[in-house]
């Protein structure tokens, strides 16, 4: 039994962010450590609800009340076990997930929600520190071989689940290192790469084979893939960026956000010696108000940008939950990420009408204020503006997986939304070929990716073994509540 009055006794606290001048000088994670004792107090705020909306809000179905109680009572190992029961990589989600669970926390109705994400990260980190990542190789071998294409969170989750069920799993990554977006998409200050590497070490020890620099479909012909493997799981993500079709798009200095982040991360980790797109000393304008935009924002500041401006087509959301997103749905409100505190500024309710250039190099951007309606935008007359810019980063989202090569050759069907069609067991129209993560769902959060990877693994296992005891947290069609 949880402490029934914890929420009346304690206030919400989350880790402090390091001082801005300090953190701008390095790429280390921005949060200060948080003590075990304080974490236990935060966990004690959990009310152990009859309907834990947080547990629904989390696509993984994390057993949040269970591990909050275990933490409160100082049972960290069991907490880690309960956490890993639904989540292969809590150390990733504890850092990277925007925590829809907290948006649906019941305590959030009339109070501040429980610091769920904090507790999750603390459990995960403490487990790592105490040997919790010891490999758990399968007790049996089925003799079945599975290829996982893509090493982002969906692919890794599927791979780990399948390996533990006794299958022989190989993960193929076209990039030079394993991790997908977690390696090259997000900035280091959000997650230390050592966190990723430790988990990969565990998986390697559990028998997962990783093959990098291998674009399946080109480097490894599809026919060979199908011959070699009993099953294939496509976890290649949604990588085609949404474009901005305005004049000046082809000017130099108008770049895709993901291109910018990837090369920045490569440079940082030392696998690239060049930094082709460097924000240092430049006026940076980021188009797109989402998380990728914020990642660019923090990266640009650390690179020493002269200014950073983030444009959002939506009007500025309120400081507290907007009535259009009542509890327990994911709240629309003004989110101020760590990066936003560090400098620069945000402009809301604007649309870019064209880029201005000089010598093929972008110099500015024309904007108009207005209102987003559906997928359109209604400009307000007389609100045109101009903004100087010498680096524009397009962070407008992604429209689906790349079809050329692998997908076309596999012959998998693509739906109208540009994603791969799958059945209830995550299998595509091609027998034995499964899909998980953004490639099937469209762009989404890391928790959805992991959940999909886990569910698809259950589908693969059942396909290969005639039945599966692997957990299956998610229907392919499941959506967040709206």
């Amino acid at each position: 039994m949880a402490d029934p009055t914890g929420f009346l006794k304690y206030e919400r606290h989350t880790p402090a962010r390091r001082p801005i001048p300090l953190r701008l000088r390095d790429w280390n994670e921005v949060y200060e450590p948080f003590s075990e004792a304080d974490t236990r107090t935060q966990a004690a705020r959990c009310m152990d609800c009859g309907i834990p909306f947080c547990h629904q809000g989390c696509p993984l179905g994390n057993l949040i009340p269970e591990w909050n109680e275990l933490v409160r009572t100082d049972r960290w190992d069991e907490a880690s076990d309960r956490l890993h029961a639904t989540n292969n990589f809590p150390e990733f989600t504890g850092r990277l997930c925007p925590a829809p669970c907290e948006g649906s926390c019941v305590l959030g109705i009339g109070d501040e929600p429980v610091s769920i994400k904090l507790v999750e990260q603390q459990i995960a980190d403490r487990a790592i520190a105490h040997g919790g990542l010891a490999p758990r190789p399968a007790a049996i071998t089925t003799g079945k071989k599975v290829a996982v294409i893509g090493s982002g969170p969906a692919g890794l989750a599927a791979a780990q689940q399948l390996a533990r069920a006794g299958h022989d799993v190989t993960v193929f990554e076209r990039d030079g290192r394993i991790g997908g977006l977690m390696r090259y998409g997000i900035p280091e200050f959000k997650m230390d790469r050592a966190v990723l590497d430790r988990r990969l070490a565990q998986m390697t020890a559990e028998g997962v084979r990783f093959v990098t620099d291998c674009a399946v479909g080109t480097d490894l012909p599809v026919r060979e893939l199908r011959r070699e493997f009993d099953s294939v799981v496509l976890c290649m993500g949604s990588t085609i960026p949404r474009e901005l079709q305005v004049d000046g798009r082809r000017l130099r200095g108008v770049e895709l956000a993901m291109d910018y982040l990837t090369q920045a991360n490569r440079y940082l980790e030392g696998t690239a010696t060049e930094l082709p797109i460097d924000a240092a000393g430049r006026h940076v304008v980021i188009i797109g108000g989402g998380d990728t935009g914020a990642d660019c924002y923090g990266t640009a500041l650390r690179q020493g940008a002269a200014s950073v401006t983030q444009l959002d087509i939506h009007i500025q959301p309120p400081m507290t939950r907007d009535p259009s997103t009542p509890w327990p749905v994911y709240p629309l409100l003004l989110r101020t990420s760590a990066a936003h505190e560090e400098g620069g500024h945000r402009v809301f309710g604007v649309n870019s009408t064209s880029f201005q250039g000089s010598d093929g190099q972008v110099t500015g951007i024309h904007l108009v204020e207005g209102r987003r309606v559906g997928t359109g935008f209604i400009p307000s007359a007389g609100t045109e503006q101009h903004l100087d810019a010498d680096l524009v980063l397009l962070a407008l989202g992604f429209v689906g997986p790349e079809r050329a090569g692998l997908l076309d050759e596999l012959g998998v069907d693509i739906g109208s939304r540009g994603t791969i069609i799958r059945d209830d067991d995550y299998m595509t129209n091609m027998p034995g070929v499964f899909v998980a993560g953004d490639a099937g769902r469209g762009q989404s959060l890391i928790v959805w990716a992991i959940a999909e990877g886990r569910s698809a693994a259950a589908g693969v296992d059942a396909y290969l073994s005639g039945g599966s005891s692997l957990p299956d947290p998610l229907e392919p069609t499941a959506m967040a509540m709206r």
Partner: protein
């Protein structure tokens, strides 16, 4: 059934579930002088008990009346045309010096006096001449074969027309013939007579019963004896003497008569069901009868008696199949008596007193008698007042709880009158020598030969002296503790985990169920009911236990309060082989006594190894392994059960006397048979083999982990249960340090205790006091199990709707097993146990109707007034329903039968919402904000909200906008005042609540905030108890009385009765309608917003669909449906739910959870913790500030809902709900067939619509005429006072049929003058005579009732400021100096009084001043449980007080003269000296008592008050004193007293 119109089983109606209640009386001449006057007096008494009986839809069809008397020999000789053998002597002629011992101990053994040399009996025979001739031929043949002489037949003259017998009764009326038998003359020239002759006649009658039944000839003997004769029939009390000419004949003489007026829960006449039976007339219910019958059947194999020469098996079955509980009791009593025990002896075997907990106070010999007989026979348990006679002795006994009333009088001319109530015979006061009452577990006995009344002590010590019972017990019975200990085996964690997986343990089981038991020894509490699928509808593997639900007592008998009245309960039992019941000897008790039905692993080892040292001859044990090949499915399970049965037979043949049924040691191939199936299968088999009583069954069960599981195992045959895995789990949790310092040993002990204690609560819900009689009693309902499986393995339990067969059960086992033993050997990393999700919603767990999505959509829709979102909500809920979350989800709506109509033609939303009510939630359980939200919304809509049981604060009571139209009257009677009732549109009697039927509740002190205390007339910071039973409803006729009381308290309000669905609720509802309720609420088990033990929350009661359908069908069969409205309540959420409820028979609809969710509830399920974070189920001001609900939200919900209902009505072709009510033919059960495991489910019985001319809905509401009551006259006489307050004095005579005197007058006072009434003594009423029940109920301030005479039960119930004085007639011999205090009034006096004064000169019965919260009451002696649950007020007892005084008393003060501390339950109170100022105050009270009543006791005390006052002790609740002290402290320091108190209460 013979001579009966009781329908066959059909739809959901089952005649086996009928109940009855009644009034009983007996009259005897103490010297045994026969006269016609005694007979006439008996009939007068019967007629004066008419109000305790009932009539059906046709007032001319009574529920039954009858009379038992001594054989009127002179009369019979005069009227028969054949010769009757001369009887040697009759009782009348005997000298009066015969010792009483002769009567009680030996009469049975010799040819006792009394009785004729011929036997005579009234037979019910066919009316058809040819059939009757055949019946007589068969009888003659058997009589001859038995060596008896058939002397002749006499046609009993009857006058059905003159008596005005109703048509339904006439249709099934038999012919009446008297059979006369004799035994041939013996060698010595005498003929056997009396009991000797009865022993010869008995086998003949048993054979006639069996052989005529086999020949399909209807013959029933009301009696056949040489000592007594019974006339009875399906008559009203008035009809009985008119019907039988014999009874009116002045030549008929008897010294003893017993009469009985029956109240049945149905309207179907059944002639044999009238009382008296052959030896008894019974007022009560035998709750354990199924187990008693099973055991009698098993015992038959061992029976032998020289008193029944020849093949004894011709007596079998002893208990006639299909007979009533009273009939079975009578049959067994007859066997015990005729086989050599006196009638009192046999009665005490079957209804023992509560001896188990009285080692200190009981005579060891009497205790030995009780203990010895407990090893022979389990108690026939339940509320009972059994009046019995053998023609010489007339006795009566009350069950150990004293749950039926009984009063007696002795007159100067030697007449003894015994009756359910006082005043049944007009006895002039100057002739009354003594007035007494029956007492719990005590026997009252008149020996008409010895010519005196024997008291209980004398009877028992005489019986106990016959044999050295205590020595036999000491030598024979081995306490479990005395068996040699075996080593304790601790199981490693990994093994525990594996076993937990096999048996389907979940993480939730460990967290919510097992941890609290292991840590604290207490069962876990939950809130907000349950909204998960029935086992048979679930998509998940469910334990077999889940298919069963616990039965509970409602209306026809009371649940017990096992906590406060623990003194009468026992968890101890005796297991082991039984011997010949008819030949008691030291060998009869070679058995093992168990202090507790749950045993730990070490105790099991003791039993399993009972004779492994070879020194316990006769105690061999054998273990039967309950495993089966899991891959073999249902067939393998079937085969394994057959094997286990075979092995049991073999073990018994080999001499085993303890069989351990074990599911241990499963592995990858072999899975455990569900322990319940294993136990019951073996048990039923042994019953059939008649070898059951040779062995004890002990179940070693891995799957049993909840109270419910253990209760089931006991109920279906286990003598003891060793739930080894839950104990190992507790040990494992403790060893891991998870129980906060509780050691492994303590954890085991705690768990054993919690499980056993929980079973006690389960038993008491059904009104069963001892585990000895609970065992094998099968008081459970099954739903969703295949009929053949039930018939074979759970014989006697029926489900009516089919369901899962062994194949499905095996598939579930396989699924659990495969999680523990994954088929390919893979390990499920991080996945120890499944998460669960039965109690708290989990994604991987069971589905719940309220889940994050449905809660969100409902709140969003009602708060933003978006009907489109509301439709998403209902679509989602209905889809979950279809997935199995509800039974109604299995139904389809047939829109193809009637032509749909345009929506515009359907009645408007405004008409539909008037049929909506919100559920009973007390102010106290929920906040003022939430409570008023519902009330305002319902008042605006024209529906009704409900106060719940917490009263209503005066501010709201008188505000038409904010008040609740329904005022609830529950067992705690909190704030039930005259003003409360007068301001009601509907008064609802809560018999049970869905979340925890059969249980009471408790509001802990820390939730009794000042404003709650004020509303409930209680004390801030002092906890409040709602007892399980209403202490004024122990039977159906009591409910009738309460309805009458409430109707008098507000004649303008409808009176409703809330029941919870369970099998048999239909017959209960029929009884309730016959008790004159206007509205019956059928609640499902699932709803319920209150806190409840998790066992109750999940496993008690059934869905309302079943209950409502059964009620609808039963009321229609009874022709009662048109006079009552029905309401469905429980988890209604959508328009579809409403329309299905309407089609099944409901015309009103109750909602609780859904409107609460609308108001902001998020199903935290922590209502019991006062931490509701949305400000609903809390009184904490900080949390209440978070409340966000408004009446508008609730209105929107109901308007949307009504709109949806309109759409369904249009689609079904109805213009209004009224048209749709009861039209079950528009429901379709095709969807159920497709559902996963519900393939075997047949829901057709729910939809059965009998093709009879009987309405579907309420079209002729019952009219209640109060114009001929005494109060109607009082109101006229007090007209001036009612107009302007002019004082008035009135005088009236009163009789026992004048019930609830003063109440309707009081309601007029309150209506006119408000809650404060009038100045004291404004209306003074002098009454003389015997007042009927409920004198002065709810009497408001301003009225003084002074009764000279005596009164019955329930005086001053709910006293609301008035004054009541009762004093005996001064001229009665019983009042002469030197006489002890006489009984002046009955049981349950002053129940729920809130203010006012009561002065009683004389003694009263049980539960005096129960739940008094503010009145002053004085009496001169009280029975058991006085001052129970008191929360306020002052009580003075100037005489002896019975056992268990002050149980549950949390407030008020008691002043007891010469208090016997051993009789006071000091759990919550201290007994202490009076303070000086108190002595002064008490002196004034005693002086008032003297002044009002003329009490000699009071005058005596006052004469020397300074010394006499020291004889008083003060009974002071500890919490109450603390509050008084804090108040004093606050007064001194000037701080707010309430703040101080609440601070202290929160700790």
């Amino acid at each position: 059934m013979k001579y009966s119109a009781v329908p066959e089983r059909q739809g959901l109606y089952d005649p086996a579930l009928e109940h009855d209640g009644c009034g009983v009386a007996a009259v005897a001449d103490i010297k045994g002088r026969r006269s016609n006057k005694i007979v006439a007096d008996g009939i007068t008494a019967l007629i004066n008990l008419d109000h305790r009986g009932a009539a059906g839809a046709d007032p001319a069809v009574g529920d039954g009346a009858g009379i038992l008397l001594q054989i009127p020999e002179t009369f019979l000789r005069a009227v028969v045309d054949f010769e009757l053998p001369a009887s040697e002597e009759t009782a009348v002629g005997l000298p009066a010096v015969v010792s009483p011992e002769d009567g009680i101990a030996q009469a049975a053994g010799d040819n006792g006096p009394g009785g004729c040399a011929f036997a005579v009996g009234n037979a019910f025979v066919p009316t058809d001449d040819r059939e009757r001739a055949e019946a007589k031929r068969l009888v003659a043949k058997i009589v001859a074969e038995e060596g008896l002489e058939l002397l002749g037949w006499r046609t009993v003259p009857t006058d059905p027309v003159g008596a005005g017998v109703g048509q339904m009764a006439l249709d099934v009326m038999p012919s009446f013939e008297q059979l006369f038998l004799a035994s041939p003359v013996r060698a010595d020239g005498t003929r056997p007579s009396g009991i000797d002759l009865d022993r010869l006649v008995y086998p003949a009658r048993k054979r006639i019963e069996h052989e005529t039944a086999a020949a399909d000839v209807d013959v029933y003997f009301a009696s056949l004896s040489s000592r007594t004769i019974v006339y009875k029939g399906m008559l009203t009390t008035h009809q009985l003497p008119a019907f039988f000419d014999d009874i009116r004949d002045t030549r008929v003489e008897s010294a003893i008569v017993v009469v009985h007026s029956r109240f049945s829960t149905n309207t179907f006449p059944a002639w044999p069901l009238a009382h008296p039976y052959r030896f008894i007339a019974h007022n009560g219910e035998i709750n354990t009868v199924r187990g008693n019958r099973n055991r009698m059947r098993a015992r038959e194999a061992m029976l032998a008696s020289p008193l029944f020469p020849g093949d004894i098996s011709r007596l079998f079955p002893i208990c006639t199949p299909g007979a009533s509980d009273s009939a079975s009791f009578d049959e067994v009593l007859e066997l015990l008596h005729l086989s050599g025990r006196s009638l009192p002896h046999a009665v005490l075997m079957m209804i023992p007193e509560a001896w188990e907990n009285s080692r200190a106070t009981m005579d060891p010999a009497v205790r030995g008698f009780a203990e010895f007989h407990a090893s022979l026979m389990e108690p026939w348990d339940g509320p009972a007042c059994v009046t019995f006679t053998d023609g010489r002795l007339l006795g009566a006994v009350l069950d150990r709880n004293g749950l039926r009333p009984g009063r007696w009088w002795l007159t100067t001319d030697g007449t003894v009158v015994l009756a359910s109530e006082s005043g049944v015979l007009p006895i002039p006061p100057e002739k009354v020598v003594e007035r007494g009452r029956l007492q719990p577990g005590r026997m009252f006995l008149v020996d008409t030969v010895a010519g005196r009344i024997l008291d209980d002590t004398e009877i028992k010590s005489t019986l106990a002296a016959a044999h050295p019972y205590a020595e036999w017990v000491h030598a024979g019975i081995v306490p479990l503790a005395d068996l040699p200990a075996r080593p304790h085996v601790a199981t490693p964690h990994e093994a525990v985990l594996r076993r937990q997986q096999v048996f389907g343990y979940t993480d939730e089981d460990l967290r919510l169920l097992i941890e609290p038991m292991a840590a604290k020894g207490a069962e876990a509490i939950g809130s907000m009911g349950t909204d998960t699928p029935e086992a048979v509808l679930s998509a998940r593997p469910r334990l077999l236990f889940d298919y069963f639900s616990q039965l509970f007592a409602q209306v026809t008998n009371p649940p017990l309060d096992a906590i406060r009245e623990q003194v009468v309960t026992s968890m101890a039992s005796i297991i082991g082989p039984e011997d010949n019941l008819l030949d008691p000897s030291p060998n009869s008790c070679r058995q093992i006594s168990l202090p507790f039905p749950v045993i730990d692993n070490d105790d099991l080892a003791k039993l399993a190894g009972v004779n492994s040292d070879g020194d316990m001859a006769g105690f061999a044990a054998a273990v039967i392994s309950g495993l089966y090949e899991v891959d073999g499915g249902g067939q393998a399970l079937f085969d394994a059960l057959a094997r286990c049965r075979r092995e049991a037979d073999e073990a018994i043949a080999d001499g085993a006397r303890i069989l351990v049924l074990s599911d241990r040691d499963c592995d990858a191939k072999r899975a455990p048979i569900p322990s319940l199936l294993l136990t019951s299968a073996v048990h039923q088999h042994l019953v059939r083999q008649k070898s059951r009583t040779k062995v004890a069954l002990v179940t070693e069960a891995g799957d049993a982990r909840e109270v419910h599981h253990v209760a089931l195992l006991l109920g279906y045959g286990a003598g003891a249960v060793n739930p080894y895995l839950v104990l190992e789990s507790a040990e494992d949790l403790a060893a891991a340090g998870l129980l906060g310092g509780v050691s492994p040993l303590e954890a085991i002990r705690n768990t054993v205790y919690a499980l056993g204690k929980g079973v006690l609560k389960v038993m008491s819900k059904m009104g069963i006091s001892t585990v000895g009689s609970y065992r094998q009693a099968q008081v459970f309902a099954a739903f969703g199990i295949d009929e053949d499986v039930l018939e074979e393995y759970f014989t006697g339990t029926t489900s009516r709707t089919g369901g899962s067969d062994l194949g499905v059960i095996a598939a579930d086992i396989h699924e659990r097993h495969s999680l523990a033993f994954v088929s390919n050997g893979a390990v499920r990393e991080h996945r120890g146990l499944e998460v669960g999700g039965q109690y708290q919603w989990r994604r991987e767990g069971e589905i719940h109707l309220f889940n994050p999505e449905t809660v969100y959509l409902l709140q969003h829709a009602s708060r933003t007034k978006q009907i489109s979102v509301f439709r998403r909500y209902t679509d989602t809920v209905d889809e979950l329903s279809r997935k199995g979350a509800t039974l109604r989800g299995m139904f389809g709506l047939r829109t193809d039968i009637r032509t749909p109509i345009p929506l515009a033609e359907v009645e408007p939303v405004s008409a539909i919402v008037k049929r909506f009510v919100t559920g009973a939630m007390s102010y106290g359980s929920i906040s003022a904000e939430a409570h008023e939200t519902l009330a305002i919304a319902m008042n605006r809509l024209g529906g009704r909200s409900n106060t719940g049981e917490g009263g209503e604060d005066v501010d709201r009571l008188l505000d038409p906008r904010r008040r609740s139209a329904i005022k609830q009257v529950a067992s705690g009677r909190f704030g039930v005042t005259s003003a409360f009732l007068v301001n009601a549109d509907e008064i609802q009697i809560k018999m049970a609540q869905g979340a925890k039927p059969g249980e009471g509740g408790q509001l802990p002190g820390n939730k009794v905030y000042p404003w709650i205390a004020a509303t409930r007339h209680a004390t801030t910071g002092v906890g409040l108890i709602s007892p399980p039973p209403h202490h004024d409803i122990y039977s159906i006729e009591d409910l009738k009385q309460l309805i009458h009381d409430l109707r008098n308290a507000n004649p303008r309000a409808a009176v409703s009765v809330k029941l919870v669905a369970e099998p048999g609720v239909g017959t209960v509802a029929a009884g309730v309608v016959k008790a004159h309720a206007d509205l019956v609420i059928i609640a499902g088990y699932d709803g319920g917003t209150g806190a409840a033990p998790l066992t109750s929350l999940k496993h008690t009661g059934q869905p309302w669909e079943l209950g409502l359908a059964e009620v609808q069908q039963t009321l229609r069969l009874n022709g009662l449906r048109e006079q009552v409205r029905l309401q469905a309540d429980g988890g209604l959420k959508t328009g579809r739910d409403v329309i299905i409820a309407a089609l099944l028979g409901a015309e009103e609809f109750g909602f609780a959870t859904a409107p609460l969710v609308v108001a902001g509830c998020v199903m935290m399920r922590v209502c019991h913790l006062d931490t509701c974070p949305v400000g609903i189920a809390t009184q904490n001001p900080v949390l209440r500030a978070r409340y966000t609900g408004t009446p508008e939200f609730v209105e929107t919900f109901f308007l949307f809902l009504a709109e949806q209902v309109r759409e369904y009505l249009a689609a079904l072709g109805f213009r209004s709900i009224q048209e749709a009510v009861g039209r079950a033919e528009l429901l379709d059960i095709a969807p159920a067939v497709d559902h996963h495991r519900a393939r075997g489910l047949n829901l057709a019985p729910l939809l059965a619509v009998a093709d009879i001319d009987s309405g579907h809905s309420c079209t002729r509401p019952a009219q209640h005429d109060l114009s001929s009551t005494l109060d109607a006259k009082l109101i006229v006489a007090a007209a001036d006072t009612l107009a302007d307050g002019t004082p008035v004095e009135l005088a009236f005579e009163v009789r026992n049929v004048d019930r609830t005197v003063g109440t309707m007058l009081g309601s007029e006072v309150t209506r006119k003058f408000g809650p404060d009434g009038l100045p004291d003594d404004s209306i003074r009423i002098s009454l003389t005579g015997t007042a009927g029940q409920s004198l002065g109920a709810f009497l408001p301030r301003g009225i003084t009732l002074t009764l000279t005479g005596d009164a019955n039960d329930y005086v001053a119930k709910g006293l609301s400021g008035g004054r009541i004085v009762i004093r005996p007639e001064e001229n009665s011999p019983s009042q002469q100096p030197g006489q002890k205090a006489q009984v002046i009034a009955g049981n349950t006096i002053g129940y729920g009084a809130t203010s006012g004064e009561l002065y009683l000169r004389g003694r009263v019965g049980e539960r005096f001043a129960v739940r008094n919260s503010g009145a002053l009451m004085v009496t001169e002696g009280a029975g058991d449980h006085a001052l129970e649950y008191m929360t306020g007020g002052r009580v003075v007892i100037l005489g002896r007080t019975g056992r268990n005084a002050a149980a549950g008393m949390s407030g008020g003060i008691g002043y007891l003269l010469d208090a016997d501390i051993s009789r006071i339950n000091t759990e919550m109170v201290d007994v202490e000296q009076l303070a000086d100022d108190e002595q002064v105050w008490l002196g004034e009270v005693v002086a008032d008592h003297a002044r009002y009543t003329g009490s000699r006791i009071a005058f005596g005390l006052l004469a020397a008050w300074p010394t006499e006052s020291r004889r008083f002790s003060r009974v002071m609740p500890r919490n109450y004193r603390r509050v008084l002290e804090l108040q004093a402290q606050a007064a001194e320091t000037g701080v707010d007293a309430d703040d101080l108190i609440m601070e202290a209460a929160r700790g």
